[in-house]
Symmetry: C2
Subunit: 213 residues, 2 copies
DNA sequence: CCCCTAACCTACCTTCGGTAACCTACCTGA
DNA sequence: TCAGGTAGGTTACCGAAGGTAGGTTAGGGG
């Protein structure tokens, strides 16, 4: 029926040889897509190689292992996330606004790359793995940003305490976004709710108040 | 801890035949141990079978798949967690005390079963899996407990909002406990910090206050 | 004491992560 | 311009581990 129906598995384009770094970028891109479609565990290295128009050993030459590839995908997404949140925070008028803008940027990032990012969050957890380390690095980057903002706002801030606080924010945000089943609330609702719950707590930490039983 | 019959590993000489449910319990116990030692991914069904003094097909007869076995382990641990937190909350004098006691019970549970529970949290995430569903069920149970307490405390409580709040608490607690690298703070420090940050937020939700930009 | 079923095992398949060894397009220098 | 080294790529394989078909035996009920 249709004329040029042949978009075969290997595209009719000549299989060009790519420079190393360009190939690497392409592979990370393809891997991200395939991971988000089938899940990390279900995606085979052969699948990814085929989709990229090369063969398995090329993947192993670049990333060493499936875990290494996953780590690269996580890091790349993490850099985008960090860029988005940093940009948002930069344009803020004060600590409260910074927290709100940062949260909104985070939720917007998830909204755009939901399938991809969620599959990474869910399946990059294997304890000793490079992927888990990468994911932890991303999370800690976000946390450190929050903790830094707090320190800047509160001069004599207890840094360990600020870090704990930041981890609470990170964990809470991630949970709100990860939780399946229920329909995902909008970016605005999520941001608003986090601010409702968290800003008061920040106030407590700020003023050195402590809960006492 | 569990009924005395099962000392996780079975001496290879006496390989008794066990009634179905008893064997099932033993297998879950053994699997939990092996998962916590090597990690879920690294633990093979053959390993677990050997440790239990039986062979692979028995495992598959009982649980259908590795995922099924993992789900069973998660559910069993989740029941213990639910029992611990429910008991703690039951003996509370009011909502504030209930939250504090519940959090403490959670952190104590993790402290006792750290290796086991963390490996489950980290590796039971594969999206379509029974294990992920089981884990989500456990988390939602905890969240629902918190939301219910809030509703009981605040008569005209906005239930969806209470649920969001509960998810924040669950996510934050999990993050504080999961975060590797740094030395794990004590149960008291964790509980205190969560109350510092969270109780004020609860106050805001309680009184219907909302953050406004 | 037999015998039937539930409990268990042997032996196998398939998939997939990972690797050794080889091939070839492309750039570089003489 | 053409050898030839190298970066980029392929073929063909291995072994480990999830999963299963079909046979074997223990041991409690009749």
């Amino acid at each position: 029926m249709t004329a040029g129906v042949t978009s075969a598995t290997v595209p009719p384009t000549i299989r060009r040889r790519l420079p190393r770094d360009e190939r690497a970028r392409q592979l990370v891109e393809v891997a991200d897509t395939v991971f988000s479609e089938h899940g990390v565990a279900a995606a085979s290295m052969e699948d990814i190689a085929e989709r990229a128009g090369i063969t398995k050993p090329v993947l192993y030459d670049h990333f060493g292992s499936k875990d290494g590839l996953l780590a690269a995908v996580v890091l790349r997404a993490g850099e985008e996330l960090a860029a988005a949140t940093l940009a948002a925070v930069d344009s803020a008028s004060g600590p409260e606004d910074a927290l709100a803008r940062g949260l909104r940027a985070y939720f917007r990032f998830i909204e755009r790359r939901r399938a991809s990012w969620l599959s990474l969050l869910a399946e990059a957890g294997v304890p000793g793995s490079a992927a888990a380390a990468a994911l932890e690095q991303v999370r800690d980057g976000q946390a450190e940003l929050i903790a830094t903002l707090m320190s800047a706002d509160v001069p004599d801030c207890d840094l360990p305490r600020a870090r704990l606080y930041a981890q609470v924010v990170v964990g809470a945000s991630e949970r709100l976004v990860t939780r399946p089943g229920t329909e995902q609330p909008s970016v605005d609702v999520l941001t608003r709710h986090m601010m409702d719950v968290i800003w008061a707590g920040f106030g407590a930490v700020r003023t050195g108040q402590r809960w006492s039983e």
